[in-house]
Symmetry: D5
Subunit: 147 residues, 10 copies
């Protein structure tokens, strides 16, 4: 049986050979680069039509489409990530977590930002003192139920 | 000696009595709500002029200004945060960490987003299907040095 | 300042003196026993009207109402709970977690059960071989967003 | 020797080829979908007659029946599960664990809900505001022995 | 409010002043020494009559009886116990755990020994090569439910 | 080189083919079922004569005898065991550890029960309310040295 | 009630005032410095006569003798010790643990060195290249029982 | 490339075939049994001449000499060792660590025993009450620098 | 696809055959030994020209150059390193971390030393009392942003 | 008894009142700022003459001198430090640890850099692209003993 790991390897290989960026691939299937990369890595499921589009765009075997559309098992092995690029985001959650919580409560009430009905983008922000990474997240507000 | 914990307690108490929100306080000292809350909680240091402004705005004892301007020791005790509102951000780092890394490398090169030369905002995004929490982060891109 | 811990202690004391059960208290404020206990322990926020009702029902100081309505910081200190009564539920998540996931995916699609828009009840199920504990959970299905 | 892992792989493969759901398979052997999935994953042991029935229903090799009926070693590797669909149940145990304990003690006495003499179901609850996942657990009450 | 910790301290103090052993106390209330010690330490709940008997036997304040009969929250803080006398039992579980499991499955079927409907004794076994500690455990066999 | 893992696999395979229980095998070599299983799993070393007897009884290759008599490296990978049958024993150590310690000190003095000069049995105790698992442990008392 | 912690504090205070070393104290009660320090810290129990001798030698309150003779609860809080002087011994166990095990098995058979029937000394070994710390341990060999 | 693991396996195999003990091998190359075992296991580096001697003594391939002389990466995977023979040494560090520290400070000053400029031996101490394991460690005293 | 692990193995093999040191290799490509080793181990990315130079210097396959220039995933598996040579640096961070922080704040303000815009060297410092290891680190000061 | 924590608090208070920096204090007692801060925090012991000098310089009570000269117990509570300024050094050990080890072995042989016979400085390095933090460490090389 073909697994998500198999398909991820095929995508990376096809991407290298074709000299494409994740932005290029995302554009070909008309999705965001964040979701395209995440689902290609097996951390999200492509909607069926998008899975088909990706298989066509990168000439993957037909069987790969079904695999790309399966619900993944989301596993990360490092409780505290070691790679500096990822650790900085962990650090932001540690330092600003209580602040995010306080402001969400202040602006919305007793609830949270969904990480499921959620989207995110990464863009390059030109800046004379050095360009900046801009990360924008948008998640549906979910109110705690009281019953 | 007055500690950061003491001043945090004074701020929360003054805020309650005056019926202010964090947005209100932030506006009074002309800073962002995120930084205002974070530094009030003792996780960041106020610039001296802002510390003075906060002391005036909330009628805190004068000694508090110096304490608010001290470099804090940033400590969080839960490696994996349990509060659902904070956990969701931890989950986003777990699920999307490799994606953030891949796209930063694709758009900038071999480097990271700074969590020090960094800013963030939280806003309420009206939406007919339910309002959304919007979180925007901007951090300076830092290139790995090769020597 | 009165804290959630203070109010929890007041509630337990008032409950003992009045000889009430959690069911009794829940009935007085017309909420479920699960939510009533959970919010009394400081793990959930009472809606304002219910907080007022509880203050009246148990003759708590008026200030307690605002505290009961504040968004709590949900903290548990044992990653693996040691009390046998709680551990068994942890064990159920360990043994049946993948099954819950597979059946949710099969019945709904790629998504999860919300733990926020959520409710639960505990009832006693008479049974000639020994009565049974019945736990019923109901959470809104949340579909992963693809963008 | 054929292992539980081998048989799990055979079942998943047969299920895919036949285009069956877990509900379909459960119906064929007249068991619940929860137990059918769990035992197929190697986290529970099928009663011998049910193991035979499953082997017949999915045309597995005869040797698989004995393997399906063996007592499994129940292992989970993530103390805190990372997959969001499973994590939410862990979170429920963290938030509501003390409440479940308090209400069981109130309704039954000093004891616990068994996770061994236990059953569970997952159903889809239609709801105009969005369908809901309903999880029902029933476990025998076990009284602590005092001797 | 009087807590279980308070009552434990009273019992230890009364025991010292009266020069009693745990065996003596157990005999006075006609329970086993294991259960008597465990419930006195706050790790089990005395049946009401026994709580009354203990209060009388040790001249504790009357309020203590209700406390001794409350369901305890069973907490141990060391995942791996450090005290050598307790560690050896942890080691036995590590070394012989799979053996206990295999023999229970062989003698009974797919199930476990209950730690709730359970009792235990400790006795001194005279032996010319050095006396031995005899620990006897008896727990009800619980069969896994298949549904 | 033949390893303990290899020999364990041979024993399990021979046991299945011959339709033997651990009790049967133990009887053939005149040892207890607990020790026979434990040493067959590679967690203890068979005395040489018993290793020879086992090799003969199960028609293992002659080289296996030396392997069965080697001192093993006792490793368990789960600090907290997840399998419910083994976890219950871990729970007993957590709940009753301080009690075992107190009673050993009361009956013997300042010392411990040896887990090395140790033996254990598992038996089925018939009981009209449901049969019980009886576990008996006997370990030499070791007095702390004071020098 | 006087605790072991209380007595430890009294001993340290008396030692400072009298300007004594641990060697001096050990000599006064005719025990080794290792055991004297360890039991004074509450990690071992003094034999009764020695407890009396220590109370006399340091003019402690009479009640302290019984406390010094009680069986202690041996707790260490750092799984990996951070103090460099203690860590080096942990490192030696990590690096040479398999070697100690192999040589004990080679010289004695399948067994261990007791940490209960055990003694240890620390001496200063003059050496022209820099004096050396000599640590000598002696523990009774315990053979694994096979039954 | 030949690795340290490869050479360790060759040594164990040659040792078995030749029927040698670690003491025998150590004698052949005129080193201590502790260091000989440790470096053969890949936890230390043999001096070049000794590596050559070992290769000759055990008829290993010539390439093994260079491997045996390489600086190893010292890794142990169990923070708390589970094997009872090794655990007892961990326990000794836990119980007596503060004592070792106190006596080193008393006899030498503010410093530690080196685990690098270090040696150790294991001997069998005959004793009518049961032979004893004697472990002797000698490490250079290192004084903390103050600058 | 060729991985960073593959190229690391090729470099180590080529280095051994050519009898080169890391200093030699660093000199050939005109980079520091620290960065050369680190990037050869796959913990940093070589600038493209340097990757080409290394491929030429060691006669690696051409495809290796692109691999050496890829952004690595920086992973370390031991939260607390066990190798003594690395542990000592961990210990320095534990002992002197607060001091480094205090002096950076004193000399620069509220900020940190970058580990990204960073370089380091290791040199041998001759000393009559024994040569010394000199480690020099230089990282850009980054000021916390206040917004 | 005055503790190291008490004296640390006195030093910080005296430093604030006198408006001194750590550099100023270090100069007054003719020691390095790194050691002065570290020993003032209770992580190192001042030589007696320096302890006296510090007591005089800051007008501390005379009793403080002996406390400052006592061997400290070096404890850090966060295995992975959370403060960003300290974490970056932890990250450097993670990323460059194997490199430091390889170059020390290449330049010196099989050994380590001492963290005991060790010194360190922090200086501000002017740089037109932004000033840099320079950290210099020097530790005695210690060769592994082979015996």
């Amino acid at each position: 049986m073909m697994t998500k790991e198999d398909v991820t390897a095929m995508i990376i290989s096809a991407k290298k050979q074709a000299g494409l960026t994740w932005e290029d691939i995302a554009e070909k299937i008309d999705m965001s680069p964040v979701f395209t990369h995440s689902a290609s890595m097996g951390m999200n499921a492509f909607p069926e039509a998008k899975a088909e589009a990706l298989v066509t765009a990168l000439s993957l075997p037909q069987e790969a489409a079904a695999v790309l559309a399966e619900s993944p098992n989301k596993v990360w092995e490092q409780t505290v990530p070691t790679d500096p690029c990822v650790y900085r985001f962990y650090e932001i959650v540690g330092v600003y977590g209580p602040t995010l919580k306080a402001l969400i409560h202040e602006k919305f009430g007793d609830g949270i930002m969904s990480a499921i009905d959620f989207e995110m983008s990464v863009t390059r922000e030109p800046n004379p003192k050095g360009d900046r990474v801009k990360v924008e997240m948008s998640g549906k507000y979910l109110q705690y139920n009281a019953w």
